[in-house]
């Protein structure tokens, strides 16, 4: 990852949201720009109730009978059951969505560069198909003490820690659209990653802002997570 500041509309790949968050400062990622910070110190905000657009961070996935093996051959741990997630020390989060479907969410440390490498490896045979999740899905990350509280206003699944501990995954409906919600940790903070049809990027961003207002939530940049 480079440390240069960029204008988000100038990069080749763009998050559908960049105009909405134009008041942030942006960092460049391998092909795009990511909101680095909105104010001098977003971390306090992130610990309380923050929302971060991680769409530019690289992610990938495979589906098929041999997808689990392929994942292992790439050196990734395989969550034991569907709807579970594991986070590697290097920061990648492995999400298992079904018996045969796996996603890898890139790390904030390298903005997912390592995942790009993995995605380049040829997939074995005919029973392991790479997925399109980098483009089909947008990625928003909710952080802080009120993740479950915010989600309770949008989603019927109980996401309080006792029933949805770190490592839990729910494929569910959030504010009437389908979403994958992953409870994991970034830089020691509990976060909920929401992955959902990229067309709804602006929609869900606004809905989340509205739901967060009760908890004084606000957008945060990746700097809040020690990047």
């Amino acid at each position: 990852m480079t440390d240069t500041m960029v204008t988000p509309g100038d990069t080749l790949a763009r998050s559908g949201l960049y105009r909405k968050i134009a008041d942030a400062e942006f960092l460049s990622t391998p092909e795009s720009a990511i909101a680095a910070s909105y104010s001098a110190d977003d971390s306090e905000q992130a610990r309380n109730c923050g929302l971060c657009d991680l769409t530019p961070v690289i992610r990938t996935g495979w589906r098929g009978k041999t997808a689990a093996e392929h994942l292992q051959s790439l050196g990734y741990p395989v969550p034991e059951n569907p709807n579970q997630a594991l986070t590697k020390d290097s920061g990648e989060t492995l999400v298992r969505l079904s018996r045969t479907e796996f996603w890898v969410l890139g790390s904030l440390q390298d903005m997912g560069t390592a995942v790009t490498e993995a995605a380049r490896q040829p997939s074995p045979g005919s029973d392991c198909y790479p997925l399109f999740c980098q483009d089909s899905h947008a990625w928003l990350m909710l952080s802080g003490d009120h993740c479950a509280g915010v989600m309770a206003k949008l989603c019927g699944v109980d996401m309080r820690a006792q029933s949805f501990p770190p490592g839990s995954v729910a494929q569910t409906s959030v504010a009437r659209i389908n979403a994958i919600v992953v409870h994991h940790q970034v830089a020691g903070t509990d976060v909920f990653s929401l992955l959902f049809d990229a067309g709804y990027h602006a929609y869900l961003w606004d809905v989340l802002q509205d739901a967060m207002a009760e908890f004084s939530g606000a957008p945060v940049g990746v700097r809040a997570f020690g990047i």
Partner: protein, 974 residues
């Protein structure tokens, strides 16, 4: 004036340090913070609060608990507000409703005297002769209908919703609920305790439980403190659980938020409703439930009268008598319909308070002050048989009559859950049975009334719930019994001059109920529907039991056989805004969305997507479309087609799968080639179409319509759950952004941005390729399809959606020198029509089969199977009745207002033989062109048919061979 209030400890809810002023019917009053509108009004001596629905009789508080319609008032933009539940606030303006003139001097009160001309169901027997007169009467009658007035400018404000999950949810924070909550919480489970009142305690907050009146407060304080401080209990006050829905799904309304609560176990401890006695003028202001008087005093420190009479059907009323006496109300008499009190000690205590007890007697009639504005006295008679009284009675003066005929369990939530409410006629007791496995009842809703039994019942049900949660209780579940008798068996006394109200909401008297059965409406459900009993705002809370008794008696059945009408949600009336809440209205935008907005596009919905209709101001629609069409036909133009569905099929069986799903043959589709793909459902109806691109032996990328793709994808995955072919199916619609670059110069533009050889030889019509699009910032991997929806040389460019905006930018830059023009869906619709391409769902309907659409060429009838194949065979072998054809009309018709519009009908003789599905003026052809269904005998090219256009005019159209434009497809194939 705040009126004089009783001393503490009366007035639990009010804050005497905080006076509040408000107005009612334009007059100013003062109350205290914590007062309800009703308590504040009565505190000021203002009793009259509303006029009844039908006879416009003066009404005042009945229950003081929001359980009746007598206190419905009007706030500025809020009709039908319960004055006995709604707090007063500073400067609140309250009005009465449903009157002519003023609440005090309602002119419609005259209707009271015409009651005898308005027998039950009189509407059905009048107003329709002579024929046609009802139209007149209806208008007159409708004016009088309804209660409050809607403010047409009212807005909802912000309402929202939240999901909650608890191990145990307890509805009702009376002694039963409190005891249940503590038991459950002590075992370590999460508990939600919901009560509609501002403070917890239920009956403990207002009711007297012992003659001395010392027990309730202590117990309430003790239990409340424990509950409020328990870490496992969340208490929600002023929150109403408004229904029971499947699997313990409980809507709890608190203020402007709707909580949707899921309970693993639900304990309903909702208490019981006190029941009224049915006698003449039982609706006069000053006649109320015993518990209403208790509440006025205990909760609001309001003295309900100076001189009271108590009408008792149970021992509870004795306690009210004591409470009144203690607060300085002169209790002139306690009339007990029974022969004696169940608890002799209570009778002694009342007698000691110098209250005259008369047993075996009833109030036969309440005597009104002038204008029926208040009770003045009661006519007390000895009971001589069921519902019968002595000829002579005694008149006792009073300004307050407190009555209690008994208690009916708050059965609503339970009956919504499928439980059965039964009534033991012998013992005059209710029972609720057939409960759902994870639903429990405790306390007076369960027919348990003595305080210790209520507490024990709460505990027992919590233990039961814990057991089901797998937290087996350490102690045995206690058995709870209660022999306390609450209901007097026949508290109904008919009077020759009637006005003995069974249902206050609907002004229904004894004879109305009985007569309904005599006219043939014998089932209690028919009685309800014919008389409207129980159909008013309080939904039969008080009328259900007397109605059941009267119907049972009139039809010689038991009350249990007669039953009550169905309890339906909601429990209390709920504001529409609360249930609607914050509306989630998801929309999708393509990666290029903002570029369209910047270019001034008029956006329109397409399914959940937003798409440009055309670029420019709405008022210039036609010019914009013409300009865009011209650019496509003559230069180069570009349209965002990102919303087009995309499905990726990969695996060794991908071709086999395509072959079974779509009508065409796909096994032999060459790699690098595209093919039109039509989808029929099992009925053989065309439901979608698209383009199939084969990028490898084992890889197809197939498009679908914007609005159809989700169901196409679902269908595919379902079929493959049965076929079990080795194919992976992905809906990649949002993964790709795409444009269609179209027009004679499109190749020149494309050449500039790719290294691929795009010459006609290397990249012929219907080819598809993967190649990079070059930009200053780097290369974009792309899929290029040479297809021709609009009939010009053209290319679809599909790229991963993250690059969508960059693709748009590079195409626009490269095209600038050729005058590239963006175009929208409306223009596209016109252009494809010139090419005779159908739009599935516009040119097809729910019955269109491929034969009617002349799509026979897109069907491989030799292959063994595709979804719908057999149905297609059947319909194509049957006699055809209609066909979709192209037609033309002279251009100048549109200036005469005679251009057919989509939806106009096609005629054959006097019959309708078809309809127009698409019709536009084509600038390229300078003619009106269209597609439409015509009778099979009208479908030959060159034949004419009639279209009925606006204004009933008819025009003759000529069936025209498709396509209209560029018949030999030279342009798209160049």
């Amino acid at each position: 004036m705040t009126g004089e209030r009783l001393n503490a400890p009366m007035g639990l809810l009010i804050n005497r340090d905080q006076p509040v002023s408000f107005s009612f019917e334009g007059r100013h009053y003062r109350g205290y913070a914590g007062d309800s509108i009703a308590s504040a009004l009565i505190g000021n001596g203002q009793w009259l609060m509303s006029r009844s629905f039908k006879y416009h009789r003066p009404r005042s508080v009945l229950t003081m608990a929001g359980q009746d319609a007598n206190t419905l008032v009007q706030l500025a933009s809020d009709p039908n507000v319960l004055a006995d539940r709604t707090p007063v606030s500073e400067a609140l303006r309250v009005e009465g409703q449903n009157y002519a003139g003023s609440l005090e001097g309602d002119r419609d009160a005259l209707l009271n005297h015409f009651g005898r001309f308005m027998p039950v169901g009189f509407y059905y027997r009048a107003f329709y002769k002579p024929k046609g007169i009802w139209d007149w009467w209806e208008k007159a009658i409708r004016k009088k209908a309804g209660l409050g007035v809607v403010d047409l400018n009212a807005t909802a404000g912000y309402h929202d919703k939240e999901f909650l999950h608890y191990d145990v949810v307890i509805i009702g924070a009376g002694p039963a609920g409190l005891s249940a909550a503590l038991t459950a919480a002590d075992a370590g489970v999460s508990v939600l305790l919901v009560d509609e009142n501002p403070v917890i305690g239920g009956a403990l907050t207002y009711s007297r439980f012992d003659p001395a009146g010392v027990h309730a407060d202590g117990l309430r304080n003790e239990l409340s403190e424990k509950v409020l401080n328990h870490t496992n209990i969340r208490v929600m006050t002023e929150a109403t659980c408004n229904a029971w829905f499947t699997d313990n799904w409980l809507p709890v309304i608190q203020g402007k938020r709707l909580y949707k609560v899921r309970a693993k176990e639900c304990i309903v401890a909702a208490g019981a409703y006190e029941q009224h006695v049915v006698f003449r003028n039982n609706d006069l202001p000053g006649v109320m439930m015993c518990s209403a008087a208790d509440r006025l005093m205990k909760l609001y420190a309001v003295r309900p009268g100076k001189k009271a009479v108590i009408l008792a059907g149970n021992d509870e009323a004795y306690l009210t008598a004591l409470a009144l006496a203690e607060q300085g109300v002169h209790v002139a008499a306690l009339i007990d319909m029974r022969d004696k009190a169940q608890d002799p000690a209570l009778a002694d205590a009342v007698a000691e308070a110098c209250i005259n007890i008369k047993t075996g007697m009833t109030v036969y009639e309440a005597l009104p002050q002038a204008g029926n504005k208040h009770i003045r006295a009661v006519d007390v008679r000895a009971i001589t048989g069921q519902g019968k009284v002595a000829d002579q009675g005694e008149i006792i003066d009073c300004d307050l009559l407190c009555m209690s005929a008994g208690f009916m369990p708050a059965y609503q939530l339970l009956c919504q859950a499928g439980a059965r409410l039964s009534y033991d006629d012998e013992r005059a007791r209710f029972e609720i049975t057939d409960l759902q496995p994870h639903l429990h009842i405790a306390g007076s809703v369960n027919g348990v009334y003595t305080l210790n039994a209520v507490l024990a019942d709460g505990k027992a049900k919590a233990l039961k719930a814990l057991e089901l949660l797998g937290k087996a209780p350490a102690e045995p579940v206690p058995a709870v019994h209660c022999e306390k008798q609450m209901n007097y068996h026949w508290p109904i006394f008919k009077h020759p001059q009637a006005k003995e109200f069974v249902d206050f909401d609907e002004d229904l008297q004894i004879k109305d109920i009985v007569n309904a059965t005599r006219i043939g409406y014998r089932d209690v459900q028919l009685v309800k529907r014919f008389s409207t009993v129980g159909m008013g705002p309080s939904q039969g809370r008080h009328s259900a039991l007397p109605t059941a008794r009267l119907v049972a008696d009139a039809t010689e059945r038991s009350v249990s056989e007669t039953g009550v009408t169905t309890a339906r949600p909601p429990f209390n009336a709920e504001k529409l805004a609360v249930i609607a809440g914050r509306a989630f209205d998801p929309y999708r935008q393509s990666a290029m969305h903002h570029r369209h907005v910047e270019l001034g596009a008029k956006m329109i919905p397409a399914g959940s997507w937003q798409r440009p209709a055309f670029y420019g101001a709405a008022e210039n629609r036609l010019e914009c479309i013409a300009k865009e069409a011209h650019a496509v036909r003559n230069k180069v133009a570009v349209i965002d087609v990102s919303t087009l569905g995309g499905i990726e099929l990969r695996g060794p069986d991908a071709a086999e799968f395509m072959n079974r799903i779509y009508t065409f043959g796909f096994l032999k589709q060459a790699v690098g080639r595209t093919r039109y793909a039509v989808l029929t459902n099992e009925q053989g109806v065309v439901i979608d179409d698209g383009v199939s691109c084969r990028f490898a032996e084992d890889c197809f990328y197939v498009t679908a319509t914007t609005t159809g793709v989700d169901s196409v994808y679902r269908n595919m995955t379902r079929w493959n759950a049965m076929w079990r072919l080795r194919v992976d199916i992905s809906n990649v619609t949002s993964a790709f952004a795409a444009v269609n670059l179209a027009g004679p110069d499109s190749r020149k533009v494309l050449e500039k941005i790719t290294d691929l050889d795009v010459s006609a030889q290397a990249f012929p019509y219907l080819d598809c390729h993967e190649a990079d699009i070059k930009t200053a910032a780097g290369n974009i991997p792309a899929r290029l399809l040479r297809v021709g929806f609009v009939g010009e040389l053209g290319y679809e460019i599909h790229v991963p959606s993250r690059y969508g905006e960059a693709l748009w930018d590079v195409v626009m830059q490269a095209g600038a020198e050729f005058g590239i023009t963006p175009f929208g869906v409306e223009t596209q619709r016109l252009l494809r029509l010139e090419k005779g391409h159908i739009i599935v769902s516009q040119d097809t309907d729910g019955m269109s089969h491929p034969g009617e659409l002349s799509l026979g060429w897109a069907i491989n009838r030799k292959k063994p199977f595709f979804v719908g194949c057999r149905s297609v065979d059947i319909v194509m072998n049957a006699k055809q009745t209609r066909k979709l054809v192209g037609f033309t009309l002279p251009a100048d018709l549109r200036h005469k207002g005679l251009k057919p519009e989509e939806g106009h009908i096609v005629l054959r003789g006097d019959d309708i033989s078809g309809n127009i599905t698409s019709c536009e003026y084509s600038p390229a052809l300078d003619a009106i062109i269209g597609l439409g269904y015509v009778g099979i005998d009208q479908a030959d090219t060159g034949s004419q048919f009639r279209i009925r256009v606006s204004g009933g005019h008819e025009v003759q159209a000529v069936v025209t061979e498709l396509p209209f434009y560029d018949a030999d497809n030279k342009r798209q194939e160049m």
